[in-house]
Symmetry: C2
Subunit: 252 residues, 2 copies
Amino acid sequence: MRAAFEPLGFAPAYLRVSEAIRARILRRELQEGEVMPTETELARQFEVNRSTVREALRKLESAGLLGRRRGGKRLVVTRPTRESVGGGLSQALALHRARVVDVWEALQAVQPGIAAAAAERHSAAALKKLEEAARIFAARDREREVAVADVASFFDALGEAAANPVFNLLNEPLLRLLKPSLAVIIDRVPQARSRIEAAQKAIVAAVKARDAKAADEWMTRHIRDFRRGYEVAGIALSTEVGEDLGGAPALS
Amino acid sequence: MRAAFEPLGFAPAYLRVSEAIRARILRRELQEGEVMPTETELARQFEVNRSTVREALRKLESAGLLGRRRGGKRLVVTRPTRESVGGGLSQALALHRARVVDVWEALQAVQPGIAAAAAERHSAAALKKLEEAARIFAARDREREVAVADVASFFDALGEAAANPVFNLLNEPLLRLLKPSLAVIIDRVPQARSRIEAAQKAIVAAVKARDAKAADEWMTRHIRDFRRGYEVAGIALSTEVGEDLGGAPALS
DNA sequence: AACATGATATTGTCCGACAATCAGACAGGC
DNA sequence: GCCTGTCTGATTGTCGGACAATATCATGTT
């Protein structure tokens, strides 16, 4: 009995519908921004009930392939945003019991490469944004948790400067998971702000000078510093990263 | 007119239901493996119609938080698999017009770190799997596209050896996107197999010796070799990675 | 204990209905 | 000309009920 039979794949209608639409989106037959036909029309075309269509649409919606304009009613073809992808990924990581040290390690692996890439091929506009991000963090020295968001912005800007969508998408979830613990660090470690500021300045300089090697090294040091931060702040490296549940339950 | 008004956030019922369930899963009040109440029961508890509940469930299903056992009817709480997360991410990357060079660059950034981590703290079992993966690739010298899957397995095994869920989840989508072009390389570049084999051997040795630095370096070289492969195989680095649409439309 | 059997529960799908509201047209007032 | 109010139609969100197919479970049989 060498070859056991696969259960023959009957998929329920709502899945087949959603796959059909998904395929057309990925094949770019449905372009980004295009408004979808109405539910009734889709039901007519697929020859299924509207309820069935709606179930299919919900799947695509939460995959980030369909969305709607602010306050809009009709669905439009969308390409998954950093947020939607990042949300899914960080949620998954939370459930996989990822620890801060795991996230840190990933950052350690990824960020230097991003910095190097950014140094090599940033555009003028991207550089401007990066400098701006660094400036903002440096300026608002007295604010509270806004600083955390500013740090994230810096990494984001760097990711954009690297002009690599892969980096951009990978960045988002890591930063999201980093934020809570970073907030603690900034609260508890007095010198954290100045160290971060210094690192950002150095990185910006390296990027500006298109010195990939220097950018890489500074970033490596920067991330290593975070680890020191954890220790000084008394955050156990084996703490599990928890999803900030209750985050933005989607706006109609 | 300093403060513009936020649109007040009314969310439709199916979203509120899905968020409610999601929150309880993330908060671990619903444990992995637990079977969900029936749709009718949920409808009763939330005081909405069953259709509404179903739409909510479809969302969670495609987020990978709910799934069902092989041929099962009831939904069970699941934690997103590598495949489900990877599918979403690689799909997003395809739509973001990521190019092979982008994916390659990300690999270049991530893999050496993974190799180093694997060297530092692999378990005996993980090492065994890694060696096994390398052995399989080396052995099946005459097979066709299975080789590609074997390469992926090697990276997978390495990711597992690194014992970091973040690495594991990041790995998956990158490998998935790499596969098609890797197949072309193996087809067109005669020496590709032996070079990969050699690199794998070296990496395994470094990991076994718990020599993080060597593992890092060999992996760096290994990935760089892929780039050479692209050039020799005549694959333009600016080729867009395309999702293999039609892949496993989900099995009932 | 393993297995066949039948009753029950549950999902997948359909139909039809209605309120809310979004989009666009249209008219009136400043 | 631009803003406001009003109207109409189209579309979504939600509901209730229905039914076939089948997974689940308790039961009885060997």
